[in-house]
């Protein structure tokens, strides 16, 4: 429950940052915080009491109760990759915006676009 609440807090902080911060770079960082919240949530769903990491050691046939759920881990590997890609692309866009308008402040940008 604590981990879920932690993920919820991170998600709220990230979303609030995206909505309220005026600087586009800070918005991007807040979006990363939000993505991390989703990753924490999924990985905590994969946790099983008394289970170990989903890597087969020495020994006989694997028993499902002995290993954590590998599927959320795989999904979150995908999510991390997507998050890296979106961050890279967004940084590229920010460099362009900064070089065109000389500001990353949302309100000043809107004023210049007016």
């Amino acid at each position: 429950m604590t981990t879920y609440a932690f993920a919820a807090a991170l998600f709220t902080i990230g979303l609030a940052g995206m909505a309220l911060l005026p600087n586009l770079l800070r918005k991007l960082l807040a979006m990363n915080v939000m993505q991390v919240a989703v990753i924490v949530f999924f990985v905590s769903l994969a946790f099983k009491d008394g289970a170990t990491v989903p890597i087969l050691g020495q020994g006989g046939a694997p028993v499902a109760a002995e290993f954590m759920n590998p599927l959320p881990h795989t999904l979150m590997l995908t999510a991390i990759v997507v998050s890296v890609s979106t961050t890279g692309l967004a940084l590229g866009l920010l460099v362009r915006i900064r070089s065109r308008f000389e500001t990353l402040n949302e309100r000043r940008l809107l004023d210049k676009l007016r």
Partner: protein, 278 residues
């Protein structure tokens, strides 16, 4: 807009306060919704009982990969991972189009930072550190079957080693002149792009080879690499991971190079209209 500025800013302040008040409500809603979730670590939770035991119990025997995450990622969900690799590649291409191409630079001259952070201490540290990082990246790639790791992780490590060299050493010098399109160490932007293309083509190529030998796309079992199907799948998975490694390492290089040439040598961003044009 002919309205006087102060009321508008007054209005935005009220709107911002209202917006800020929405977030505690959102948090409360999320926590209340979580009361319905299974207990943390409950082995009988739905996520752990329906599909995942099948993968945990059969993955190693079917795919030859002791790391079940790798088995799911590169084998059962190989098609999804192909798309994921394409997403990374597309991000690199997007950055290239947004920054390098829009800056009107036909020859892609980019070799890391125009102002490297070089100093004796940094130079010495990178000389020791970077070879270890690059070697560890390859280790993480090759051991992705049997330990935490794989193509994505190894590729990012490899790319971070290359970025470290670009940050500290910057572009190469030849006869006192800066070779703006040749980095002091590692692939140029063009080579990074070629690496990334080679990776994603290799991935699709392995999938098509599986089709050519009578299987489905990315169903590696039919590849003529041996008689034991699990072993064949293990080898093909390693091939997939190596392809992903190339794409990720190349794209990390492309992303870094394109973003770092957004700033010109004199610190003035390209296209800003300030300073002398090239």
């Amino acid at each position: 807009m002919g309205a006087s500025p102060p009321p508008r800013h007054e209005a935005t302040r009220v709107r911002r306060l209202l917006g800020a008040a929405a977030f505690p409500a959102l948090f409360t809603g999320l926590v209340l919704g979580m009361a319905e979730l299974p207990e943390f670590g409950d082995p009988a939770s739905p996520a752990s009982t329906h599909v995942s035991p099948r993968f945990i119990e059969d993955a190693a025997a079917e795919t030859g990969a002791a790391n079940m995450v790798t088995a799911v990622l590169a084998d059962y969900r190989g098609y999804d991972t192909l798309g994921e690799t394409a997403v990374i590649f597309a991000a690199g291409l997007g950055c290239l189009v947004i920054l390098a191409a829009a800056g009107g630079r036909p020859n892609l001259p980019a070799a890391g930072m125009s102002h490297p952070f070089g100093s004796v201490i940094l130079d010495t540290a990178t000389r020791i550190l970077v070879p270890v990082v690059l070697l560890f990246a390859v280790y993480v790639l090759i051991h992705g079957h049997i330990s935490p790791g794989g193509g994505f992780q190894g590729g990012v490590l490899f790319g971070s080693g290359l970025i470290m060299m670009r940050l500290v050493w910057g572009p190469a010098h030849e006869g006192g002149a800066r070779q703006s399109d040749v980095p002091a160490f590692g692939p140029s932007l063009r080579s990074s792009l070629i690496l990334a293309c080679a990776g994603i083509l290799g991935y699709a190529g392995i999938g098509l080879a599986a089709m050519a030998f009578g299987g489905e796309f990315l169903n590696y079992g039919t590849l003529p690499l041996g008689s034991d199907p699990a072993h064949v799948r293990e080898l093909a998975t390693l091939g997939i991971e190596a392809a992903v490694f190339l794409t990720v390492a190349g794209t990390v290089g492309v992303l870094f190079d394109t973003i770092s040439i957004g700033m010109r040598e004199d610190g003035v961003p390209i296209g800003s209209g300030r300073g002398p044009r090239e």
